[in-house]
């Protein structure tokens, strides 16, 4: 246990240092060092968690997780916001892949369609409208990079410690009911008729929540139009422009 704390502490410290090097800090260079340090910290973390017990699956998982996390790091490291957005898109593809891997086929595809297809593209449009020159001076600076990197690394370190120690403790029963076997998993979450099961669950048990979510979408739509409609009003009312 103590050894685990020491290793995780080391990984946290390396991650904090790597994040600090990665964040934009004026003219100071060192992104390559930061990427290397962060990759080392991720490697240490990966070496402490048990594998999933099936070699091809493990390789696929590590590739997907690596793509997701490294492009997430690139998102916060790149100074040009357009590059950040594109790296975020790659991170989303990795997340979608991880969801597919975890048996959430619909969610994997929906994440790619909704986030990468709609949200990200819309924000790229805004970036092109607002900042066509690419990089502004304020993009080369960050707020309190040392404190931010330390906070993030400490949070990750603590969460990892909790997760690892809970799973290593034999007294803790995470699943009170009897463990299911692979056949049950194949019939429910990993069934061939994934969409049919998902739809049946969504539109029976969660029907009210679906209605509420629809109302929320409508309210957001109306609110957005109301906010954007205010932009032009001062010019109509103002007398300074003939």
């Amino acid at each position: 246990m103590n050894e685990m704390v020491a290793v995780l502490g080391l990984a946290t410290a390396i991650l904090a240092l790597g994040l600090w090097f990665l964040l934009p800090r004026g003219a100071a260079a060192g992104r390559a060092i930061g990427a290397l340090l962060a990759a080392v910290a991720l490697g240490i973390l990966a070496s402490r968690i048990p594998g999933v017990g099936h070699l091809p699956a493990e390789i696929v998982f590590y590739i997907l997780a690596g793509v997701t996390l490294l492009s997430a790091l690139a998102t916060i490291a790149f100074r040009k916001p357009v590059y950040s957005a594109i790296w975020f898109g790659l991170s989303l593809l990795g997340t979608g892949g991880l969801m597919l891997f975890g048996g959430a086929q619909f969610l994997g595809v929906a994440t790619v369609v909704v986030y990468a297809g709609a949200i990200l593209v819309t924000f790229l449009f805004v970036l092109m409208l607002a900042q066509p020159e690419g990089q502004a001076p304020y993009d080369q600076l960050s707020w309190a990079p040392r404190l931010a990197a330390l906070t993030g690394a400490l949070l990750v370190g603590t969460l990892t410690l909790v997760v690892v120690s809970v799973f290593e403790n034999p007294d803790v029963a995470l699943r009170p009911e009897a463990p299911f076997n692979a056949a049950e998993l194949d019939e429910n979450i990993l069934s061939d008729e994934h969409m049919a099961h998902l739809g049946a669950e969504l539109f029976s048990k969660h029907l009210l929540a679906v209605e509420v979510a629809g109302t929320l979408l409508l309210a957001a739509l109306v609110g957005t139009v109301a906010i954007v409609a205010q932009i032009r009003q001062p010019e109509h009312g103002g007398s300074s422009h003939g």
Partner: protein
């Protein structure tokens, strides 16, 4: 596959994604990059939920992720509208422009780093000494527009 190890892997990847998003949200100054980092944190939570859903062989986690996606879409629409409004007012995507929205007891933030950076990056091109007669300004040429 070892389901318990799989859940552990998903939880740790989710925690890392959440942490990276948090760091980005805390430290970046561009409003759009801040928004993208907030979305990244949501992705981290979604991954954990998918892991739990698989572990318990239950659809509850995936249902929650569907609603996270819905709320994220609403949030994106509103954030886009707000960012556009703020950009129209200030002409910048910098969040520091809006520091007058801070609490009353907070000291004003003086942007020394930005001034220093702009001073350092200013390029001084060589100039020639002005000589000869200054030409009459051509008003037609100055006000001509190829298109409106």
């Amino acid at each position: 596959m070892d389901e318990q190890a799989l859940l552990q892997n998903y939880l740790i990847v989710g925690a890392l994604l959440f942490g990276i998003g948090l760091v980005g949200f805390f430290s970046r100054r561009n409003m759009i990059v801040m928004f993208l980092c907030a979305e990244m944190s949501l992705q981290g939570v979604s991954l954990s939920l998918v892991g739990w859903s698989r572990y318990h062989n239950d659809w509850g986690g995936q249902m929650l992720v569907i609603f996270i996606l819905t709320v994220a879409a609403c949030e994106a629409a509103i954030a886009l509208a707000v960012v556009l409004t703020l950009f129209h007012r200030s002409g910048k995507l910098d969040i520091a422009v809006w520091q007058q929205l801070r609490e009353d007891n907070q000291a004003a933030f003086v942007d020394r780093d930005l001034v220093e950076l702009e001073r350092r990056q200013q390029v001084r091109w060589p100039t020639l000494t002005p000589a000869g007669i200054e030409p009459e300004p051509d008003l037609d040429q100055d006000t001509h527009r190829t298109h409106i």
